[in-house]
């Protein structure tokens, strides 16, 4: 039934470019650079393929509040820091496994990244009790 996804030149170019850069580009930025070699590619194609690559685990979304969505070709476990001045996103690779206190962490990251670290943002996600039981209902 299900045909394999095709490996079009558009898809290949998008993935290659994303893997190449370290800038966590937006769809628009990728579109602009890929257009230099494939002038007729459309922005929709870039979006569609980026989302597809994310689904397949070959890319990741990098989302900050009030900023447009960015994508990352590096799917290894790492954190991100965004500059409140220019909006760019840099990587933070931490190999510490033990937990550290918040103030220590800020100081540590300041040294590691050369950023003036203002703070962090921690959010959680999951299934609320209602949605949990609704989901269980549906299974029966």
């Amino acid at each position: 039934m299900n045909r394999k996804p095709r490996f079009t030149k558009q898809r290949k170019l998008i993935l290659d470019e994303l893997k190449k850069v370290k800038t966590h580009p937006t769809a628009q930025e990728l579109y602009d650079s890929i257009r230099k070699v494939l002038p007729n590619i459309s922005l929709g194609t870039v979006y569609r393929n980026l989302e597809l690559l994310c689904q397949q685990g070959m890319a990741k979304r990098v989302e900050f509040p009030e900023a447009q969505r960015r994508y990352d070709g590096d799917v290894s476990r790492h954190y991100h820091i965004q500059c409140v001045g220019c909006g760019k996103v840099d990587d933070i690779y931490v190999n510490e496994t033990r937990a550290i206190r918040e103030d220590e962490l800020i100081r540590f990251l300041g040294i590691k990244t050369n950023y003036d670290v203002h703070g962090q943002k921690i959010d959680f996600f999951g299934l609320c009790p209602e949605c949990k039981s609704r989901k269980n209902q549906e299974k029966l």
Copy 2:
């Protein structure tokens, strides 16, 4: 020079409603409920005042990826968890001061919130080296 901000009935209603609910409403949701008592209020007024209240530290933005902006009348220090099923946002008040390991934390929050906790998202923000020195330049 600078006039005081006026305390209009629109502003008062918005703040009161926001403080009253625990749902982290969107601007649209606040607009809908406030319209029941002030039918002519405009959505723009709700947005403008919410942003103003945030600037003044009387409210906070609650922003999750892929979701519309929400606001919180509770500015005390607490975390948020969003349901991936229905999108609602609940509070997490943690009085633990010591750091805890990630897996412990997830278990702990599961018990505390009754959510099926899928994970967390940690991001950092600050000033990059370039913006830091640009800022210093401007001061001279």
